[in-house]
Symmetry: C2
Subunit: 225 residues, 2 copies
Amino acid sequence: MTADPAARRGIPDATVARLPEYLRALSSLAGQGIGSVSSEELAAASGVRSAKLRKDLSHLGSYGVRGVGYDVDLLAAEISRELGLTQDRSVAIIGMGNLGRALAAYSGFVTKGFRIVALVDDDPAVVGDTVAGITVRALDDLDRLAAEGLSIGVITTPAHSAQLVCDRLVTAGVHAILNFAPCVLAVPDEVDVRKVDLSTELQILAFHEQRKALASGLGLEEVAP
Amino acid sequence: MTADPAARRGIPDATVARLPEYLRALSSLAGQGIGSVSSEELAAASGVRSAKLRKDLSHLGSYGVRGVGYDVDLLAAEISRELGLTQDRSVAIIGMGNLGRALAAYSGFVTKGFRIVALVDDDPAVVGDTVAGITVRALDDLDRLAAEGLSIGVITTPAHSAQLVCDRLVTAGVHAILNFAPCVLAVPDEVDVRKVDLSTELQILAFHEQRKALASGLGLEEVAP
DNA sequence: AGGTCTTTGTGAACGTGCGCACAAAGTCGC
DNA sequence: GCGACTTTGTGCGCACGTTCACAAAGACCT
Ligand SMILES: NC(=O)c1ccc[n+]([C@@H]2O[C@H](COP(=O)([O-])OP(=O)(O)OC[C@H]3O[C@@H](n4cnc5c(N)ncnc54)[C@H](O)[C@@H]3O)[C@@H](O)[C@H]2O)c1
Ligand SMILES: NC(=O)c1ccc[n+]([C@@H]2O[C@H](COP(=O)([O-])OP(=O)(O)OC[C@H]3O[C@@H](n4cnc5c(N)ncnc54)[C@H](O)[C@@H]3O)[C@@H](O)[C@H]2O)c1
């Protein structure tokens, strides 16, 4: 049954999370006209160790040539296929505030196989506006959008509305959600939610800053035992 | 020497990454006037299992009361202290484009102990503008800012400028950087870089979408063996 | 064609993180 | 004051991820 012993079924999550970075590095190399790259070079460009890179790539098959390295275009195509980027995916952004507008105006997705097909808001003052060449639609249009094959929903509403919007997306049949609101979303098992949180990142940085400060000049605020 | 056997030295990274979420859940509870919470309840509000939550909290000491739970305010204070949020940290945002402006306008940091002290851009047409009540400064001002105790740098410039900006920040003495540009930054060991990447998140979602699609209707595009 | 040299792919050791399950500890009712 | 009940804190085993180190595989030179 398992026809391909090397790869099939089950690429580790940690590996999947790094594939986009490899893909970006490969695109950059291709743009410089470089056709072949070693694991050492690609790893450096991706910010990982070469052993890790090789093990990651081994999960999707044997596309390298020993003594030479990897063909840039071939490897990029292979990673794209594995990530499911060969077929374009449509994205809707819900919440046309500061962040939602910035995302809508961002051209970085489009080149990567993501197409923003809809912008949504519930504020009547915003609905009908044109942002980045797209007319903002009302929340009720979500069901219609899903029927048209919406693949991913991006939530950029305030936290108190996020669960509501999430529920609408799920009901409409969306199985992949990217959440920018600082809250946890409850979803059925079959739905995939990823969260991006600014404050969390800053707080993690703050922790390491403090740790460094404590390590260098220890015992500054210790007054009494 | 190691006075406190329970906690001191070495909170796992995975735990640190979850502490901000616990803190947010606690803030929410405090806002509802709730003074005490069990690990089960707090875990549910944070989107984790209660055993994981308890183990995480055990790394910073014993602040729970058996048979009762945790004091909301006490625990929040303790986590804040551990994360180094008791002392305010100043943040500079470099790159006043779509994303940089959205971040500057965002009020979510301020309440968490982060203070945006400077906005920076290298475009003469942008320098001098007022964004979110702050005057945009030139890139050369970075050194002066660092001298004033700048703690964290946020990079929201295009990718091709990110390394340059990063180098300026490092030279100026900044040891914590949050990077939104889609590229890897080279920094000395003592500098901490975290990256937030939209496209990566979407690509990971796409991978799981594809996997689900393959699992349900298998062998759709298999034509010949 | 044979030898050398480079680089891949991977087995094995190691470290980290996670979940279960339970004993210890403290509360609350009586 | 005592017993039953609740909830914490943690020891243990397992799964996952990372790193090392090397044998196998192929390119390139002569
Ligand atoms: N702006 C940032 O830099 C930033 C950073 C980190 C996190 N966030 C988070 O991202 C979210 C959006 O931030 P923002 O600054 O853009 O906020 P914002 O207030 O500028 O925009 C929110 C938008 O969502 C719309 N909205 C509200 N409820 C809605 C609903 N039920 N359905 C559809 N649309 C609805 C509002 O009309 C508004 O246009 C917030 O949750 C915020 O915490 C923002
Ligand atoms: N906008 C988004 O939603 C989004 C999403 C994901 C990632 N990003 C990334 O974030 C970055 C910024 O995105 P954006 O949409 O705001 O771009 P943008 O082009 O709107 O803004 C970039 C800003 O950086 C300034 N800048 C350029 N070089 C600089 C330098 N050397 N020093 C200081 N300032 C400099 C420019 O003057 C400009 O104001 C990009 O790297 C982009 O890939 C953006």
